[in-house]
Every structure is written in C-alpha cells, then in structure tokens.
C-alpha cells in the first residue's frame, strides 16, 4: 500500500531525510545530521518536527461540554477558553483508548489533536459515545502540524509572529499569524523543552516550515522525537499506554480527576481504592553495562524460577539517554519494585542486565 505523505514530504526529501513507514505514513526518522545531533539541537537550540500525520478534529454544538465531560479523564470541559489540556480517553475498563490534547475554543467548540495511529479509532470512539451531543468534524487530512521545540523556540516563533506569541503561557493557545501563515499556536510539546505546536492548513505548511528553517530551526526526525520524549518521561501510546493498562498504573493520575464523571471513572476509582498492583517505573542502566533495554524486553527475578516464571514485568520503552547518559527506559513492574533505588534485572537478549529504578523525569530542563 502506498504510504501517506504529509504536505512537507518533498521538503524532507530535499533536506536529506531518511524516510520510514510510521503507521502507514512515509515519515522522516532522521535527516542527514543524524538522531544524536538532532536530539542535542533541540536541547540546546531549536528543532522543527513535522507531526502533520497526527489527527485533528473539531467537536462543536450547544451540548459539546457534556460530550467532553464524558470522554476525558482530565478537567477539559471546565477549562477556560484558550486553554489546551492533556487528557486520557479511557474505556469503561479503565484501559486507555488514547492520550491527546484538547483545546477549548469556547463552551460550544473544542479542537483535539490525537495520535496518528489512533485517529480513525478515536474519531469512531467520539462518534460512538457522543453521537447526539455534538458535531464532529475530522480535519486531519486538511491540517498540518509543526512542533518548534527547544530553548530558542519561543523567541524564534515570536519573531515570526511579530511579537504576538511570547506572552502566551504554558498550555495556552491562540490564533496567530506566523510567517504570514494563519495558525493555531499552542505553548505545548513532546520533548521536555519549551516551544510551540503550530497547526495550519496543508497548503500553507511548506511556507511556514521554510520560514522556520530559514530562521534557524533544524529539522528533527522521529528518532530524536522518541529519545527526547523518553528522557522527559512523556508516555507514547502503543508502548507505555494501551488498552491493558490504566492511567493510574502509567503514573498519569495527575491527568485523571476522579471526582468527575467520565468513561472509565468507576473502574479507576475501584483501582485506586484497592491499590495498584503494578506501575510504570523509570529505570536507568549504567554506562558500563553497555546495554540498551528496549520495548518488549522482560524484567526478571531469577529467584522466582526458570523461564517464564521469572518474568515480573515488561519494558515498554527504552533507548540511549543522549542528554543524560547511559541507557534509560520505562517498564511495568510490581508496585513493590517500583520505588526509586530498586534494583531490577532486565533480560537484554539473553543477558541479565542490572538497572536501577529512578523517580521523576530523566531529564529536566533548567
């Protein structure tokens, strides 16, 4: 099947991108400079990410707030206009349909950005549960999304917006004109750095991207997007989040308001009351181990037996800590093994590698 292309595909080719299949999209995994340099550029200066493959939709109507209340675990519906809110979408079981960001335009209009690979599923989920409460307009195929991230990102975007955007605070959004292109600009991101995510019409995206490159932004591929988000302990749906784990287990309790009523609230309240049995823990592997624990590797306790009996957990994400050293990762482990300082053993392709549980983000910007 032909891979889908974002409106920036031609520009990526010209820029020396190596393109890979990412959920049916032909996306840059890295450009000529390579993932490590790209990662560092975002930590030290400013990088540009084409995330136009992500899904976007509007939910509108006089009763849209009721729909939003039902769908979201976080306090989205009651947020002030102009606020972007990270939330989970949960099944009645408490398992996660997706994680996403809702933008509250007004009490009758919300904009939402969802994970590319979940777009069709999410839109179906919205329709199934809110059919009479709001109109849903899928604008994914007409909308491009460019993330501008790094310590120099805000100044860069603000300059191209004529000084209109520096005053926008974290998780606020506004309509803005950036390099002559009409955008929804949100002070959000997926790297642990400051910056903006700019949504615009597909046709305008090459002009905006080119202006951002000329202003000093370095194009960044999906490879560095993953190493950056992991260092900041931002979960990735399909790795760290899925139908079989709840947001509480994933450490996202801050985005779950259990005093509200929404899909999955009863299961989550019960889980909280009974106590968690497993938890997503961050771990670090020392440099001298010369190993990287990746998605799907088993966390083992050899004292418990041989083969499968020894498995106590699973690595959901892992990679080199480009800014923090060694190798880092996330794993679902029994709660008793999730405390900071706990020594874990990870079966790295047949070799038992020691890892240490660390709390909080691996990387925190100063």
């Amino acid at each position: 099947m032909e891979r889908k292309r974002t409106p920036l595909w031609e520009l990526h080719k010209q820029h020396g991108a190596r393109l890979i299949d990412f959920g049916g999209w032909d996306m840059p995994v890295a450009y000529a400079s390579g993932t490590i340099k790209e990662h560092k550029a975002v930590r030290e200066a400013v990088g540009l990410f084409d995330v136009s493959h992500m899904g976007e939709a509007y939910l509108r109507g006089p009763r849209v707030r009721e729909a939003i209340e039902l769908l979201t675990t976080n306090a989205v519906a009651s947020a002030p206009p102009g606020k972007a809110v990270y939330t989970l979408l949960c099944r009645p079981s408490g398992g996660v349909v997706d994680d996403c960001i809702f933008y509250k335009v007004s009490d009758t209009e919300f904009f939402v950005i969802v994970n590319a690979s979940n777009t069709a599923k999410d839109l179906e989920w919205f329709r199934e549960h809110t059919h009479s409460l709001c109109d849903i307009e899928d604008v994914s195929d007409a909308t491009a999304l460019i993330a501008v991230q790094g310590p120099k990102a805000v100044a860069l975007v603000d300059r191209l917006a004529g000084g209109a955007l520096a005053g926008l605070t974290s998780f606020m959004f506004a309509n803005a004109t950036v390099a002559g292109v009409a955008c929804i600009a949100a002070r959000t991101g997926y790297t642990g750095e400051d910056g903006f995510e700019l949504a615009c019409a597909n046709d305008d995206a090459p002009k905006l991207w080119t202006a951002l490159v000329e202003a000093g932004g370095l194009p960044i591929g999906l490879g560095a997007r993953d190493t950056l988000r992991l260092e900041s302990k931002l979960p990735l749906y399909g790795n760290d989040l899925d139908d079989d784990h709840t947001p509480l287990e994933a450490g996202l309790g801050w985005a779950v308001k259990l005093d509200r009523t929404f899909l999955g609230v009863e299961a989550l309240r019960a889980q909280k009351q009974q106590g968690l049995t497993r938890q997503l823990a961050g771990f670090r592997i020392a440099d001298d181990q010369r190993a990287i624990a990746r998605h799907g590797y088993a966390v083992v306790d050899r004292a418990r037996g041989t083969g499968g009996e020894a498995v106590i957990g699973t690595v959901t994400s892992g990679g080199p800590g480009i800014s923090v050293g060694g190798a880092i990762g996330l794993a679902y482990v029994p709660v008793a093994q999730a405390a900071a300082g706990t020594q874990l053993t990870i079966d790295c392709r047949g070799k038992d590698i020691p890892a240490t549980v660390v709390s909080g983000k691996f990387y925190k910007r100063t």
Binding site: T35, G223, D226, G319, I322
Partner: protein, 128 residues
C-alpha cells in the same frame, strides 16, 4: 549516496571484508550504516575467539534498534577495533576506515571465495 569501494568483498548481511595479510578486516557497509542511523554501542568478540560463518558474533545498538553481527567467514579473531568501545560513532563517520570492527583469519578458504564482488553487492543492495 551509498558507496561501495571496489577493493572490498561483501556479504548479504551488509558486511565488507578487506585483505589484511593472512587475515581479513571486517566492517559494515554504508548501506547498513544508513539503515541503522546513529550507532551508540558496538559489542565485539575478543581477540583469539573462534567464530563460525553465519553465527552471531557481536551486536550493534543504534539509537533506534539493535542488530546482530554475523561472522562473514569462519576463523579466529586476530584483532579487534577497541576504539569503538568509546567512539562507536566512527562506524557512522567512516564505515570503511576507522569504523572497522574485527580482523578474522579464515579457516575455510572456500568461504572467502564465496564472498561477493562489489558489482554483485551493488545488485544485492539495489534489490533491497
């Protein structure tokens, strides 16, 4: 673009070999490097180890993935590029130069004769 020097022999697993006295120096090709992206760890056998053609004798961790290194020929490891331990990025920078990995003294001459010539390898890559 990927380049494949004319004085080398190649394997289907995207390794190259260059005659170095009675041994053969082994590395991975530009094609392999392009596929892997930035390399962060290279695990190699020790000097003196015996390796068997087609068997895993090392691993390469890149930012995105882990890959096995397969012995291109059977023989004894006579040299290891120890500098890759601290500077694996040499494989990205100079896959045919400072990014070499091991030297193997083959025990089966026939295996050396079976290695691909550059034009055969170029055709192999084109078919990927």
């Amino acid at each position: 673009m990927s380049t494949f020097p004319n004085d080398l022999r190649y394997t289907h697993d995207h390794e190259w070999l260059r005659a170095a006295g009675s041994a053969w120096r082994v590395g991975i090709t530009q094609f392999a490097v392009d596929q892997l992206g930035d390399i962060t760890l290279v695990d190699l056998p020790k000097e003196g180890d015996l390796v068997t053609k087609g068997q895993r004798f090392g691993t390469i961790e890149s930012v995105k993935s882990v890959s096995d290194l397969y012995a291109p020929v059977s023989g004894r490891v006579t040299a290891v590029n120890a500098s890759l331990k601290d500077a694996p990025e040499q494989v990205n920078a100079e896959p045919y130069g400072t990014g070499w990995m091991v030297e193997i003294e083959p025990t089966e001459k026939a295996e050396v004769d079976e290695l691909m010539a550059p034009d055969a390898y170029v055709a192999h890559v084109a078919a990927q």
